[in-house]
């Protein structure tokens, strides 16, 4: 077998492993974090600090029977959870964790992540529709309209950044911000005075795209029971869960690369993978922190936010940056 094929396989296995490990331990981190915010300990019985809790949860989910509700569309019902997890793992392939650690550096890396993210919303749609549950259908329609409306400002913001850097390669994007935090994209420069706003828009959009609170309308438990995965149990539910956390990691990685200088150190010294991990976990901690602070938005409030605030501002920013890039 040729070396390139072997490399690809190893890369994919590492990507799956990283995604699964993150998904498992982010659940633990989320529960511990929520516990601390609410002044309770969180899971602390299984193992030291409850660190074995994800294993117990995993064992429970795997050994449970997979129930398929009567009248459900079996094929789509089975496919949907896989479709939720697979694109997330695929996106890991192109994310550069450091100068050298990347499975496959692609010239269109940014595009690839968005292309596969669009598959994720299809999985929600299929899950809700195929389980033949009214709550599921309502939730899936909500989640998809949400996904569509937040992809627009997100892509416009990405275009702004790509325009400044002149590349869609995630590696190039990160390298262009090397050498201290004053080179990062989040810091406003002459050509892009509105970058902090862009960052905020991108951050909000990635919260919405990953269906995180306060935008978790697809699984609004007080209205729609559990939303699109109401009928899922055992590993079907597990895959949705893991997919969600894998998506969070991808969202955080993307923010880190686009705005926070990738694996670069804030002071321009020793760029390494640790900086990258530190940044993405700080961002994920912020995601968790936000989730346990705010109530949920309404569906129309969410769409209003996207179409009336985020899209106009990001479009304005795009035009402004384009104009200023010509000037300077």
């Amino acid at each position: 077998m040729s070396l390139t094929v072997l490399n690809a396989i190893i890369a994919v296995v590492i990507a799956i492993g990283f995604a699964a490990l993150n998904a498992a331990y982010l659940v633990w981190a989320e529960r511990r974090g929520a516990g601390r915010i609410q002044r309770r300990p969180g899971p602390n019985v299984n193992g030291p600090l409850g660190l074995l809790q994800p294993l117990a949860d995993g064992a429970k989910l795997m050994t449970k029977q997979l129930m398929i509700p009567g009248g459900a569309d079996k094929a789509l019902f089975m496919v949907a959870p896989v479709l939720a997890m697979a694109p997330a793992i695929m996106s890991f392939v192109t994310i550069p964790f450091s100068d050298v650690i990347v499975a496959k550096s692609m010239d269109v890396g940014v595009l690839m992540i968005f292309a596969f993210a669009s598959l994720g919303s299809m999985s929600i749609l299929f899950a809700g529709w195929s389980s033949r549950n009214k709550y599921g259908v309502m939730a899936s329609v909500r989640a998809v309209s949400q996904a569509i409306s937040y992809e627009v400002p997100m892509l416009i913001t990405v275009i702004t950044i790509v325009m400044m850097t002149g590349s869609m390669n995630l590696h190039d994007l990160a390298v262009s911000q090397a050498g201290g935090f004053w080179h990062w994209n989040i810091i406003p420069s002459l050509a892009s005075p509105l970058m902090p706003v862009s960052f905020l828009i991108f951050f909000i959009c990635s919260l919405a795209e990953t269906n995180r609170a306060p935008f978790d309308l697809g699984e609004a438990e007080s209205e729609l029971v559990a939303g699109f995965h109401t009928e899922y149990g055992s590993m079907g539910f597990g895959l949705f869960f893991m997919g969600e956390y894998a998506n969070i990691v991808i969202g955080a990685s993307l923010i880190t690369i686009l705005f926070l200088g990738g694996w670069g150190c804030p002071f321009g010294l020793f760029p390494s993978v640790f900086w990258f991990l530190l940044k993405i976990y700080l961002l994920i901690a912020t995601f968790i922190w936000i989730r346990w602070t705010f109530p949920r938005t309404t569906i129309y409030g969410l769409l209003n936010l996207s179409w009336k605030i985020l899209i106009p501002i990001s479009l304005f920013n795009l035009l402004l940056t384009a104009g200023l890039l010509k000037v300077f």
């Binding site: 974090g33 516990g35 601390r36 915010i37 609410q38 002044r39 309770r40 300990p41 602390n44 922190w289 936000i290 346990w292 602070t293 705010f294 605030i309």
Partner: protein, 156 residues
Amino acid sequence: MGAYFSEIFRGLQSLAIGMGITFREFFKPVVTVSYPMETLKMSARYRGHIELVEDEKGQPKCVACGMCQRACPSGCISLASESVEYEVEEKGETKTKKKKVLTKYNLNFTTCSLCGQCVENCSFGAIDFSKEYNLASSRKEDFHFDLLQRLKERNS
């Protein structure tokens, strides 16, 4: 236009304030009690299920008058007694007197509503609340208490 931006700004500000509060709470100590590992002491007036009170000789104080049974809204107390003849020396002569002795005192805790009227209505102070709250079972029979038996077990 001004209102549009000021609303965005005020909104963001309110979100930041909220996040500040949860951030401060994050570093405060945990307030919950990890129940099976640590427990709290019940307050002095805590009303658990009832228990018979014993006198100095270790016998139940109860005289089987049945007031508690009549006061109970749920009818969860059932007691029985028998007359026992006993002899006392009074003014130099031995007399035979009759006395009611408790033979059975059952509490059906499944229907008890812990109102405390039995204890309130007892003129002899013969029943009292226990401080037990760790009652859990999947069998109904586990909550049919034989209080006399429990009293004996406590004494032995």
